[in-house]
């Protein structure tokens, strides 16, 4: 049973955490060595530098008392004014949202690819536990989860390049660049606009990087499913079911499978974090637009406002994802309580 009380507790806790993250970035900004205005303006050099630093000083309100600055910071944060990116000369929030959506699309697709495959392979391994099939699946999944994503992505890119695969790089063919939909997901926007040709293009460009990223959740989930099922096979109710003469298929599906869900939902928060990092890396291999590309550019041009915005945004997303994962886990597993 899941109670409203539990959900409320988790929601308040995550809200407090989000406030903490925002305050942390405020501290990082105001107590850094050197001049905050200089850093906020992107460490400018040359003729326009003095002007840029002066406007940054004004924006940050460095001559105001600290509590006023914190209040202004929080107010701006919740009204969506996250500053102007030094590198892109655009509002930070819109850049972060846009590039995050691009990365999120990759993560979601790789999750969709990995989950069914992992359940199938994990079950196969658990059923033949100790045998050759099990060992092969186990070692392959270890290697897949353990190797750096850019190696797999780079090799995939090379192979596809050799076979003249025409859909490498970018999220959508430049010819379709007029297609802008409400969601920011290339595959969904094109569908909403009813352009099947553009949808196919977006999907074909999405699948190779998604495949490369999906190796991580695949490797992790296969092992989780394998261990969880093996444990479940030892349980009393599975023995009981077997003693009643039920088919092995029925036992696995009906009695052992429900055990996977809580563990998976518990892990999904953690996996999401790493998949986001992987997406940021793989995007660069396939030169797609996304969070990784934005961050790589921001580092070079000392784009402090953009990085602060991206850090806060991703931290909030991770907090929300973890909270939802916990609530789902509590909903499916009655033993978990705060």
């Amino acid at each position: 049973m899941i109670t409203i009380n539990y959900i409320l507790k988790r929601a308040i806790l995550s809200l407090v955490l989000i406030l903490g993250v925002i305050s942390l970035t405020f501290i990082a900004m105001n107590f850094i060595p050197g001049d905050p205005a200089f850093v906020w303006a992107g460490k400018p050099r040359g003729p326009g530098a003095a002007v840029a630093i002066e406007s940054a000083r004004e924006y940050l309100g460095l001559d105001l008392p600290l509590h006023v600055r914190l209040a202004t910071y929080l107010y701006r944060f919740f009204t969506g004014d996250w500053g102007i990116s030094v590198r892109f000369k655009q509002p930070v929030l819109s850049i972060v949202v846009r590039s995050f959506t691009a990365s999120l699309e990759l993560v979601l697709y790789s999750f969709a690819i990995a989950t069914p495959l992992a359940i199938w392979l994990g079950t196969k391994a658990a059923v033949s536990r100790g045998g050759t099939v099990d060992r092969v699946i186990y070692y392959v999944s270890t290697v897949l989860a353990g190797s750096p994503r850019f190696l797999l992505a780079g090799l995939l890119y090379l192979v596809l390049y050799m076979v003249n695969y025409n859909y490498l790089g970018l999220r959508l063919d430049p010819a379709y660049s007029v297609l802008r939909g409400p969601t920011g997901f290339a595959t969904i926007d094109t569908l909403i606009l009813g352009r099947l040709d553009a949808f196919a293009d977006a999907l074909l460009r999405l699948i190779p990087p998604a495949l490369a990223i999906s190796t991580y959740p695949l490797g992790v989930l296969v092992r989780v499913v394998r261990v969880t099922l093996s444990e479940a096979f030892e349980e009393e109710y599975v023995r009981q079911a077997a003693s009643l003469g039920l088919a092995r298929k029925v036992i696995v599906r009906k009695y052992a499978f429900p055990n996977i869900l809580p563990v998976t939902s518990q892990l999904s928060g953690l996996m999401f974090t790493y998949m986001l990092i992987d997406a940021m890396v793989v995007e660069n291999v396939f030169s797609r637009e996304g969070l990784g590309e934005a961050v790589a550019k921001a580092v070079v041009s000392s784009d402090y406002p953009l990085l602060i915005g991206a850090t806060v945004f991703v931290a909030i997303v991770l907090i929300v994802v973890n909270t939802v994962a916990d609530i789902v886990q509590a909903a499916v597993d009655p033993r978990v309580r705060l």
Binding site: L17, V21, F150, I277, N284, V295
Partner: protein
């Protein structure tokens, strides 16, 4: 005085390692490869054929992107530097960096976690909150922020990773210490009026040290992967670089992926080898340490 529990921890760990060595072929292979890797990393600067190119102080544009040949066993990169020499120089730095991250995070985590478990309730709540807060921070973005603030990339990556890894160990050791705090050997000394710090150092520390070391050993692979992902992203942005670093070399090789795949593949494959070997090693130790996982299952129906 404190040498006794420390010695028993070392004995625990060595007996665990020898047990794993006896039982698991995967562990044996990975340990041997690890020793080879560390030896090569230590000798790297001395056996590199072109040490000045390996360090990045010398470039030779006329020899750019040469394919592998007897002269350059792994070819040359876009600035004409010998890839093998650069890999040899980068290997030691990468391994050292990941060891530092794991060791410092482990020590910090154990100290914070075990002291929190015995601290007054208010401090306990605050520290748990801070740990949750730090766990939520994305390591890559934190590293990028620190790189701008502190300048140096290697230090800022190390600091960022420690900041994001140590709360994890702190949480695990806090949970373990909390499990111990109701037990007699912790409560009785407290009733006698011994200080909390003494009890933590004398009774809680020794009991959580061994499991925490096992935890850290099994995390080495992930740390290597995370470091390489971050340096890779930095390398994408930074055009030219002098410091030999595997992740940055991979990023640099990406630009000539199709024309000169060896520049990309050589450092990436080395990174993969390190990460996989660490993962197999850690997993074997972890499974051997946890008796539930150690049992071998045979499907009986």
């Amino acid at each position: 005085m404190s040498s006794l529990p420390l010695r028993s921890t070392i004995e625990d760990i060595t007996s665990l390692l020898t047990r794993t060595w006896r039982k698991r072929p995967g562990f044996r292979v990975s340990l041997i490869i690890m020793i080879v890797l560390f030896t090569v990393a230590a000798l790297g600067p001395y056996i590199a054929p072109y040490p000045r190119q390996g360090l990045g102080v010398e470039i030779d544009v006329t020899n750019a992107l040469l394919p592998p040949s007897p002269k350059h066993i792994l070819g040359t990169d876009s600035l004409g530097r010998d890839v093998l020499s650069r890999v040899l120089f980068a290997l030691g730095r990468g391994l050292y960096q990941s060891l530092v991250v794991v060791a410092v995070s482990l020590v910090l985590g154990i100290v914070v976690g075990s002291f929190t478990a015995l601290a007054p309730r208010s401090i306990e709540a605050v520290v748990s909150y801070v740990i949750e807060l730090l766990l939520a921070l994305p390591s890559i973005l934190l590293a990028a922020l620190l790189a701008i603030l502190l300048g140096g990339t290697a230090t800022s990556i190390t600091v960022a990773l420690i900041v994001t890894w140590f709360p994890w160990y702190a949480r695990v050791s806090y949970l373990q210490a909390r499990g111990l705090r109701e037990l007699d050997f912790v409560r009785i000394p407290l009733y006698y009026g011994l200080s909390r710090a003494y009890v933590v150092v004398k009774h809680i520390g020794p009991n959580i040290l061994a499991p925490m070391i096992v935890e850290a050993l099994s995390d080495m692979g992930s740390v290597v992967l995370e470091i390489s992902s971050i340096t890779f992203l930095f390398g994408i942005g930074i055009g030219s670089f002098e410091e030999p670093d595997l992740g940055m070399m991979v990023a640099n090789g990406l630009r000539d992926l199709v024309r000169a795949p060896w520049v990309f593949t050589a450092p990436a494959a080395i990174l993969a080898l390190i990460a996989i070997v660490f993962t197999v090693f850690g997993e074997a130790v972890y499974e051997e340490h946890h008796p539930i996982l150690r049992r071998r299952w045979w499907l009986w129906f």
